[in-house]
């Protein structure tokens, strides 16, 4: 018998959703390029905000059954990470996208790295520990705002669409539990998830974070249409 079950491919229960077929490979490539460019801009803005140099990897585009989003996004599915990566305590900065493109935006950092990232900003302002704690959360929210807005603005400009981001939610939990949120949202309507993810390395702390954009299927369609039209003009 052949392998079946690290993912279920078809589901009669799901409302019809645009299938991500090979036919659309070049369209996905277009989205990938534009998101990659947007992520570079976002990383540059982030670097300016935290006042530290920053490296960004070439973003990778992933396509997987929704249920495998956790393992695929964390790299366990490719032996890039241990299976227990889903258990690692992680600080997630989450924003949901709305407007013409809906979906999820996530910045994942090790909790210590998240602190280190904003510590230089916070230590200037906060005299005591209690204040520092709440300032750190605001600073991380701002990190989310800056990164998401630069990326989404780049996307919106390129595709002539209106994309807005929610307020950031900061959560520290197991990586698997954080990534469950987009899974729960997507699985109601679609079998396959697409995500674009990159690793960033920040400053002398060698902070390594993961930046992921997970559009909903209608959002992806809007993006593809917008980008294709622009290219056609």
């Amino acid at each position: 018998m052949t392998s079946v079950d690290r993912g279920y491919q078809g589901d009669g229960s799901a409302p019809p959703a645009p299938a991500l077929t090979m036919r659309k490979a070049h369209q996905l490539e277009l989205v990938h390029q534009v998101v990659a460019a947007g992520m570079t801009v976002a990383a540059a803005q982030l670097s300016r905000f935290v006042g530290q140099p920053l490296q960004i990897e070439a973003p990778r585009l992933g396509l997987c059954p929704v249920e495998q989003l956790v393992e695929t996004a964390l790299g366990s599915a490719f032996d890039l990470a241990d299976w227990s990566a889903a258990e690692a305590l992680t600080t997630g900065i989450y924003l949901s996208m709305s407007g013409d493109v809906t979906g999820h935006f996530l910045l994942l950092l090790a909790p210590a790295d998240a602190r280190a990232l904003v510590a230089p900003l916070v230590s200037e302002l906060a005299p005591d520990d209690a204040q520092r704690e709440s300032l750190m959360l605001s600073a991380l929210s701002e990190v989310g705002n800056i990164t998401a807005s630069s990326l989404l603005n780049a996307l919106a400009d390129a595709a002539h669409l209106r994309i807005t981001a929610s307020c950031p939610a900061i959560v520290t939990d197991m990586a698997g539990a954080i990534l469950e949120w987009p899974v729960l949202d997507l699985i109601q309507s679609v079998d396959q998830a697409i995500f674009i993810e990159t690793r960033i390395r920040i400053g002398a702390y060698a902070t390594v974070g993961s930046l992921a954009l997970i559009p909903r299927p209608d959002g992806l369609e809007a993006l593809i249409t917008g980008l294709s039209q622009r290219r056609a003009r």
């Binding site: 305590l89 989450y94 197991m174």
Partner: protein, 235 residues
């Protein structure tokens, strides 16, 4: 890299051609080489269980059943998902299923059954039975069902209380089969990892951000626990 075919000596429940194919679909195993032993990268995150051995990671919507005493079945990072582990102390067969949702919407078919609490529990019990376990002997442990991403999961949103609904459906299904959860660890706002060692029936629940790991033998009896009420994690 993945196969559902139990390799010789793997100890995973073997299925004959006469077995229900749809059930086989839900079984899987990883080649031992792809599974890191405990004590590697994990140890910095959670206290590693004492005995070394291979781990089968049971992801969302998956079910695994094994009779290999050297193997541990683990669901990492359960948020609002629920992991349900079953162990037959006599035959030393263990199973673990990782559900995402309480039940399918409206009249939609529950495919795959392992995704939904309403169908995953019967599916797990059936799988255990097929592997040679007796349902009446099973010790069950369940964990998960947390309320995730606090602010975003308002209780009035359809997915906000999904953890609670998952936990309730698991409990209902377990009682419907005349069984009891020996240990249940539901609720709160933190992610959990649930693991079960096939050979010893030792299970553990690791809660995000806590240094301690709850560890117990599954054979310790049917004491129904109370839901955990823990606060959010500090950054």
């Amino acid at each position: 890299m993945m196969s559902t075919i139990p390799s010789p000596g793997s100890g995973l429940a073997a299925f004959g051609p006469e077995d229900d194919l749809s059930l086989q679909r839900s079984f899987e195993m990883l080649p031992d080489s792809s599974i890191g032993p405990w004590g590697g990268a994990v140890s910095s995150v959670s206290p590693s269980p004492s005995a070394a051995g291979a781990v089968i990671s049971v992801g969302i919507g998956q079910c695994a059943v094994s009779a290999d005493p050297a193997i541990a079945l683990v669901s990492y990072g359960l948020g609002s998902c629920v992991g349900i582990a079953a162990w037959d102390p006599l035959r030393r067969i263990a199973g673990l299923v990782h559900i995402l949702l309480p039940e399918p919407v409206s009249s939609a078919p529950a495919i795959p059954p392992e995704r939904f609490a309403s169908t995953a529990v019967p599916s797990l019990l059936h799988a255990m039975e097929v592997a040679g376990a007796r349902i009446s002997r099973l010790r069950l442990v369940a964990a998960g069902g947390a309320r995730m991403l606090g602010a975003l999961s308002a209780s009035n949103s359809p997915v906000g209380n999904i953890g609670e609904r998952n936990a309730a459906m698991v409990c209902a299904q377990v009682s419907a089969h005349g069984l009891c959860l020996a240990i249940q660890d539901f609720g709160g706002t933190r992610g959990r990892t649930l693991g079960l060692r096939v050979g010893s029936g030792e299970w553990w629940i690791h809660v995000a951000g806590s240094a301690a790991t709850t560890k117990r033998q599954a054979s310790e009896g049917h004491v129904c626990g109370t839901p955990r009420r823990d606060g959010g994690l500090k950054l």
